[in-house]
Structures are given as C-alpha cells and as structure tokens.
Symmetry: C2
Subunit: 138 residues, 2 copies
Amino acid sequence: MDQLRETLKGHHLRTTTCREDVLSAFINKKNALSHGDLEGALGESYDRVTIYRTLKTFLEKGIIHKVLDDEGLRYALCSQQCSEEKHQHDHIHFKCNACGKTNCLENSHIPNIALPQGYQPASFNLLIQGTCPECVAE
Amino acid sequence: MDQLRETLKGHHLRTTTCREDVLSAFINKKNALSHGDLEGALGESYDRVTIYRTLKTFLEKGIIHKVLDDEGLRYALCSQQCSEEKHQHDHIHFKCNACGKTNCLENSHIPNIALPQGYQPASFNLLIQGTCPECVAE
DNA sequence: AAATATTTTGCAACAGTGTTGCATTTAATA
DNA sequence: TATTAAATGCAACACTGTTGCAAAATATTT
C-alpha cells in the first residue's frame, strides 16, 4: 500500500485518499479507464470534479497518458517513466470491439514511417481495433 | 454545383441545402472539421441537431470518416470510395501543433505491424502530431 | 401540376462531459 | 500543535451529443 504513496511522492504530489484510490484503480484494472469508469469504480466516495482534477494532475505529472478511441477519451498508466517535463509514448493501443476494453501493448513499437516532404513529426499515436486474445478464444 | 447533388445521390441521399453546405465545407476546407467548426462555418443557417444528424448520415454512408486527436473528434472526407457496406481507411492523420489543423496524408500507408500472439486486428488509426510544412516554413 | 408518401428539419428537452470560483477541509512543515 | 499551502466539495455553468415529435421539404405517383 505504501507503493502508492511512493509513486505519488515520486511525482511531487501530496498523498490523498482520492489520489491513492484513483492510482490503485489504474493499477488493478489493466485496461484504460475513462472518467466515467472511475466514477463507477469509486462509487460515491469523491466528487466528480475531484476525479477530473486528479486525472488532470496525473496527466501533467506523467503518471498517466491519454488513450483515444472512437468512443472518446480514456487514460492509462505510463509504463515508461514519464515526468512533468517529458512524456514518451510510442507504443500501440489496442481496442477490442468484442469486450470493449482498450489497453497498451507494452512491448510494441510504432515502426519508422516515411512522411511527405516538410512534415516534422513529434509524437505518434496508433490505435488498432479488432479482437483481443481473450475474446478470440471464445 | 451539381457535383454535390451527384455525390449525395451516389450515396442514396436526398438533396437538401444543409447536406450540400456541409459537403461543400468539407470540400473547400481541406482539413478535418469538428461539429463546432461546421456550426461556425455555416452560421445560423441550420439547427445544431441537423448538423449532428447530417454528420451521422454522412458517416454511415461512407462520405466522411472519423478523425481522432487529443482535442476530440473531427471528420474528414473519404478519399477512397467508401460505401455503407465498406469503409477502408489505412492512411495517416497528421495534426499540426502550431496551426491546430488536422488532415489526412493521402498517399501514406500504415506499415505492417507485428502484434503479440492472439491479437486479431481489424482497423488501424494512426495520428502523428508535429509541425506541418506551412508552419515549418515560418 | 397536384396529391401522396417518405424523409428531413427545427424545436424542446434532456443526459453526459468537462470547467471555474470560492469557501472549507486536509496534508505537510515548522 | 500551530501555520501554510494545497486539495476537496459544492454550486453553477458551458459544451457536446441524443431523442421524440410536429412541421416542412423532397421525391414519387397520378
């Protein structure tokens, strides 16, 4: 449980029960979570606004990153060490159309891509939709 | 101007001024447009709801496709011929962090990507963020 | 050209998502 | 334990997107 406090401290954040619970939710559920998912998971414990602010803070500090799919915005833990200064995310997000879960493929990398003249890329975001191993098995 | 009517007819849609104006906006502006962009461009001519429904219809008929970036949802013309039955989009979307515009790189293709065992991909969506040629030049 | 059937539109109302200001409470520090 | 600074809860609001229904417009038939 002190793991949570350490992570928060490591990112220069005060320890609060809300932050511990949100962080804990991200660690337990493996897949990306939306604000609504968190509201559901944490019940009535915290105000909606507090959860929004917690997500915003976690984003800024590099604890989580945004994950986009056609249904909207979700968040997932940063596996690589990210900080306020530097976010590094060139891995792939996979959304299963069967179970609806989105997660990060940790050991994947987006290959080099030849862009037309003049385009200067800074960050890459690849979402693949399809069927995940668990749903393929059924 | 009959171009518009033809396109609509080709997708089995009735010709209405709203549909013509929305389609026209997509053709004139080259970049991806959000619902809000269209509301701005079309002024008070049409009800918000009508624009939402027009976008939904265009999506279903394969006239436009969704483009996701970190700010939310936009739409862009399908360059390849899409229909109600089949959407085919493996091109790349580029968002310029300087001018804020997102567009499709028409001659680009997402390369083959090796997924971990068991994942069955169906569709790919790659967003690259950076600086576009026009903004690099400045 | 007028009548009909069908689709589309505008309006009202609503649900969901996200933000801001401010007073109160809580966490860290001295 | 007292002080300081940050985080929370509440109220209010703006934005985004959806649904039901009556009125209007389109395409079709006569």
